[in-house]
């Protein structure tokens, strides 16, 4: 898979405040639509993106627990916001403020997922980076993926408990100082 081949170069790419990165996936997470901004920032051709699993752009710096939370929330038919660092096909990385929602048909069945991504503020990126470093450290102590996710999740809950905020509230706290 491509994610295992691309090595992060450490070069950061950004996009403009007025731009939206948009992708749609089927219920299993395979990309069914990617807009021009996504393809440009991810350095992908449309043919390389369509039909691929969304973890095509997964960056090794992303804690497993965040994706676990993302998928659990979506399975619960709820929207989720998350700061995510993605890996472009050329090894560059880019931070996004992702808003992922389930798409429903007329009968209320989930027919896929939709992700709108906006450019986050530098402050929000710095805060998310710090948090993810803590979660990664907790996860890296466990060789088994399942244990790593559990450890990351527990650490996240601990951080939230210390701050007296829910995950949602924390994410919105970070976005409050962000660009609009």
């Amino acid at each position: 898979m491509k994610t295992t081949r691309v090595r992060p170069t450490g070069r950061e790419r950004t996009f403009s405040d007025g731009e939206l990165i948009v992708t749609k996936t089927d219920p299993r997470g395979a990309i069914t639509y990617a807009n021009d901004v996504f393809l440009r920032i991810s350095a992908l051709d449309e043919d390389d993106a369509l039909g691929q699993p969304h973890n095509l752009i997964r960056h090794p710096d992303m804690p497993r627990a965040v994706f676990k939370l993302l998928w659990d929330t979506l399975k619960d038919r709820r929207e989720i916001f998350a700061y995510v660092v993605n890996l472009a096909a050329d090894g560059a990385h880019y931070w996004v403020f992702a808003h992922v929602t389930p798409s429903f048909d007329d009968s209320g069945r989930v027919v896929g997922y939709h992700s709108n991504r906006r450019v986050p503020s530098r402050d929000a990126i710095a805060a998310a980076d710090d948090l993810y470093r803590v979660l990664r450290a907790a996860e890296s102590r466990h060789p088994r993926a399942q244990d790593a996710v559990a450890a990351g999740h527990a650490t996240l809950q601990q951080v939230l408990a210390e701050r007296g905020r829910t995950y949602d509230e924390l994410v919105w706290d970070l976005s409050a100082g962000g660009t609009r």
């Binding site: 405040d17 007025g18 731009e19 939206l20 948009v22 749609k24 639509y33 807009n35 021009d36 449309e46 929207e79 403020f97 808003h99 929602t101 798409s103 027919v111 896929g112 939709h114 709108n116 906006r118 450019v119 949602d168 509230e169 919105w172 706290d173 660009t179 609009r180």
Partner: protein
């Protein structure tokens, strides 16, 4: 320099128009999942595809934000704002209007929450105050009931004592009557003795010097009878005085007894008001305090739950 015109591939153009029309019709019917797939090879076809998909992406983003932000506001999750970033023009204006509305809702919700909090605090204070008052009233009622019962006992004892006094004084009157009878008898005896002494004096005078000594005795007997009458009269006066005093004492004792009986009724009235009648509809002070406490408790519960 003039650009070379593109060669027109009619079949590809027809297919492109069909695909775009199809997506637009699906979007028109509210299906925002549809996007134009890769069409034709021409630059113009690619541009129209990007433009239409971009339009749909923005409409899609607006619809998702509007739905989710409104839902969040209606659930009180006001931290979830409408994300205006990436939206321009009319989209952004409408988004800002929704954000403003949500902020107003947020403030209103906060005011409601504050009003509810104040209501709770008021309910707590009311409950605490009424509880204290009802406890104090209950304590006072118990104390008053005890005092009233003590007073009633006291009045009963006083009435008994007065009645005993009445009996004593009445027997005094009876004794006086007996004394009067005895004195009457003595008076009659004295009158007859005086008559006998008179006859003895007359007989002694007729006897002449022989009866002189007897005459002296008869005179002494008459004097004794007179003294007896005089003493009897004094005794009668004393007895009359005693009888008058006894009658006065009886009147006073009866008046006192009546007063105590009236007082006793008043005390019973107080006891009834405090304890409540066993066979009447009247609730006592303690019960009233309990009713007040229960009513306020019900009221406070209603306020807390509202």
């Amino acid at each position: 320099m003039k650009a070379k015109p593109e060669t027109v591939d009619t079949a590809a153009l027809d297919q492109a128009v069909r695909l775009v029309t199809d997506v637009c019709e699906r979007a028109l019917s509210g299906d925002l999942e549809a996007r134009v797939p890769v069409i034709g090879g021409s630059e113009r076809a690619a541009r129209i595809r990007t433009a239409i998909n971009g339009l749909l992406d923005h409409v899609d983003a607006f619809v998702r934000e509007a739905g989710a932000a409104s839902a969040a506001a209606s659930e009180g999750r006001f931290h979830r704002r409408f994300l205006t970033q990436g939206l321009d023009g009319a989209y952004r204006a409408a988004a800002e209007q929704i954000t403003h509305s949500n902020q107003v809702m947020s403030r209103t919700a906060a005011q409601f929450a504050e009003a509810a909090r104040q209501r709770q605090a008021l309910a707590d204070e009311l409950e605490s105050a009424v509880l204290t008052v009802s406890e104090q009233v209950a304590t006072a009622a118990t104390e008053m009931g005890r005092s009233a019962n003590g007073l009633a006992d006291f009045a009963r004892v006083a009435v008994n004592d007065a009645e005993r006094g009445l009996g004593t004084v009445s027997s005094l009157r009876t004794s006086s009557d007996e004394i009067r009878h005895a004195v009457d008898l003595i008076n009659q005896v004295a009158a007859q003795t005086r008559l006998l002494a008179l006859n003895a004096t007359i007989e002694a005078a007729r006897a002449g010097s022989a009866g002189r000594g007897f005459g002296v005795v008869a005179n002494e007997v008459k004097n004794l009878a007179n003294e007896t009458s005089s003493s009897s009269e004094q005794i009668m006066n004393q007895v009359n005085t005693v009888q008058q005093s006894a009658a006065d004492a009886i009147a006073v004792l009866e008046a006192v007894t009546n007063r105590i009986r009236e007082m006793s009724e008043l005390v019973e009235g107080i006891a009834l008001a405090v304890d409540g009648g066993q066979h009447t509809e009247n609730a006592g002070l303690s019960q009233l305090a309990e009713v007040l406490r229960a009513e306020v408790s019900r009221f406070v519960t209603t306020i807390r739950d509202s």
